[in-house]
């Protein structure tokens, strides 16, 4: 077995994705299949090949100046004292 249910559960925790048991079961089977396919990458003789690198000249970056977007554009209605309210940290 390439990928276990426990691994998928752990990755879900790391990626902050809550999954039901049914989802976990379905994803494990599907991800197992996908990762087995990606394992093909380990069969290629690539020792001589350098990873792709960009050589081109990039555009100049804009000046790093703050822009003022009115806070009305924020989607949330959970606010307190002019701040956006988030969940409890500790």
């Amino acid at each position: 077995m390439v990928v276990t249910r426990e691994e998928v559960k752990h990755l879900g925790w790391l990626a902050k994705l809550e999954m039901s048991d049914a989802e976990l079961q379905r994803y494990t089977a599907q991800i197992e299949e996908i990762i087995s396919y990606l394992n093909m990458l380990n069969t290629i003789p690539l020792e001589q090949v350098k990873p792709i690198a960009m050589k081109k000249k990039f555009s100049e970056l804009r000046k790093d100046a703050p822009e003022n977007f009115e806070d009305a554009v924020l989607g949330t209605r959970y606010r307190k004292d002019g701040f956006v309210k988030g969940p409890r940290m500790v």
Partner: protein, 480 residues
């Protein structure tokens, strides 16, 4: 002939010469949308009032003798992952269901100042992850040629709205074929520019090193008009190429050398291959030289693509915490981690799968096994392509190896779904430009001819696409 059937050039001329007004044109399109949208489902949001207002302002400008712009009155559907100021940009996801951007993407700014009118936001697979538009929370976009079949994806709404005559043209985004796949399935033209030709500022990121915004139109000429407006460097996207703004034209040129990629034709359904060989014959009759060529590393392209795309996706989607924008979920009473896990469980199935696969390939100890190898394959492919472009002006093959399939047919088998992207991901991995042009029909369903060129060789690619289009004369929009 109803106005909504016109090409971009005819729209611009007609409005400028006051044969009809922009308001009449937009009204006709809105009527058309009302009629066919229940069958097609190409739009997520319509921009009726604002669209009509823009049209009236344009008409006034023209009456007053002011400059109206190269795309005056052209009505565009915009894929709903491209930011439009004041207009919802949802990525067909619950995670952004109420997001209203505070700014326009660079491409939108450029199109608006060229006189274009946004008629609505087009449906897509959630966060552009998919090949059928079935992973949209607004339901699948149906193929105008057969509404029991998929439109392709992820820019399915873009291609279907163009084929169904609901807009003049559209903008999509192409990360692994997301403009070309639906263009092929809906018998319209779709172009993925060279990486760095078009600004990605304001495109909601999925896999930054692969994606480009690209135009969809009913003709090569329409696609050229839009590309001319959106291409060029941008100080807000430092991956855009730092050079003078390019201008492309339609040229009658002949005598091209084309390489027909045999790995693409061999892997395709017989009906599709047959149409592509016919397309090669058509090009030969126009004085092109077509030869079969091999691109051996194509066999590794999908594994490389899905490693890089999921890795970048898992990182990009980490920003959606539902705190500043998103859906209504009160943080009161939640602990930090449990709030995010709960909120983020509202990503759709495919997005979740890609986040987990991406997290897996980037896990400690696996970096060299997957991500690094994937980048080596990228390099290998690029080298093979560059060698071929020394001998050939373009490489051709099918855009999609299969015909548009029934809605629901592949949705439960993600790997099987991924495999249909085999012909399109090569251009994204190598950064090279590619276009899908209608090649004809097999069993009554559209087949697209894909033409790929060397980096920044868009003009050559467009010349051959135009040559083929003029010779093949394939139908663009079905009866609906």
């Amino acid at each position: 002939m109803p106005l909504y059937t016109l090409e971009a050039g005819q729209v611009v001329e007609g409005i400028k010469n006051r044969e009809f007004s922009a308001e009449e044109y937009i009204s006709q399109l809105l009527g058309r949308i009302e009629k066919v949208e229940p069958k097609v489902n190409a739009f997520v949001t319509l921009n009726k009032e604002e669209g009509l207002n823009r049209a009236r302002m344009l008409d006034k400008k023209i009456r007053d003798g002011e400059q109206s712009g190269p795309l005056a009155g052209v009505a565009l559907s915009i894929k709903d992952n491209i930011c439009t100021k004041g207009m919802k940009t949802t990525c067909a996801s619950k995670m952004l269901e109420s997001y209203i951007p505070a700014y326009d993407a660079t491409v939108i700014k450029r199109l608006m100042s060229a006189g274009a009118i946004i008629i609505g936001k087009a449906n897509l697979d959630e966060f552009a992850m998919g090949s059928t538009t079935e992973f949209s929370r607004h339901g699948p976009t149906r193929n105008p040629w057969d509404i029991s079949r998929v439109s392709g994806g992820s820019s399915g709404g873009s291609a279907a709205s163009v084929a169904a005559l609901e807009c003049t043209a559209s903008l999509g985004s192409d990360t692994g074929g997301s403009v070309r796949c639906p263009a092929s399935f809906c018998s319209v033209v779709g172009l993925k520019p060279t990486y760095g030709l078009v600004s990605r500022f304001g495109l909601v990121s999925y896999a930054n090193s692969l994606e480009q915004i690209g135009p969809v139109g009913r003709t090569v000429s329409d696609v050229v008009s839009i590309l001319n407006v959106i291409a060029g460097s941008d100080e807000n996207d430092h991956t855009t190429i730092n050079s003078n703004k390019p201008t492309y034209s339609l040229q009658e040129r002949k005598g091209f050398r084309a390489g027909l990629v045999m790995e693409f034709t061999e892997g395709a359904d017989p009906g599709v291959s047959k149409m592509i060989y016919n397309a090669a014959d058509t090009l030969e009759k126009q004085g092109c030289k077509c030869e079969e060529v091999s691109l051996p590393s194509v066999q590794y392209a999908l594994a490389s693509y899905y490693t890089i795309a999921t890795a970048e996706a898992s990182s990009n989607l980490a920003r959606y915490d539902n705190i500043r924008y998103g859906f209504d979920m009160n943080p009161e009473g939640y602990e930090w981690n449990s709030y995010f896990a709960k909120a983020r469980s509202n990503f759709g199935e495919e997005a979740k799968r890609r986040i987990i696969v991406g997290s897996y390939v980037l896990s400690s100890g696996y970096y060299g096994k997957y991500y690094l190898k994937a980048h080596q394959v990228r390099s290998l492919l690029k080298h093979e392509m560059e060698t071929l472009f020394k001998r050939y002006d373009v490489l051709i093959g099918p855009t999609m190896p299969i015909l548009p399939f029934k809605i629901g047919e592949r949705i439960d088998d993600p790997l099987k779904m991924y495999l249909v992207d085999i012909d399109t991901v090569v251009a994204n991995l190598t950064g090279m430009p590619a276009i899908s042009v209608p090649a004809g029909f097999a069993d009554g369903l559209p087949v697209g001819l894909q033409i790929m060129a060397d980096q920044f060789a868009e003009q050559t690619m467009l010349d051959i696409a135009y040559l083929f289009e003029q010779a093949a004369k394939v139908q663009r929009s079905p009866e609906l």
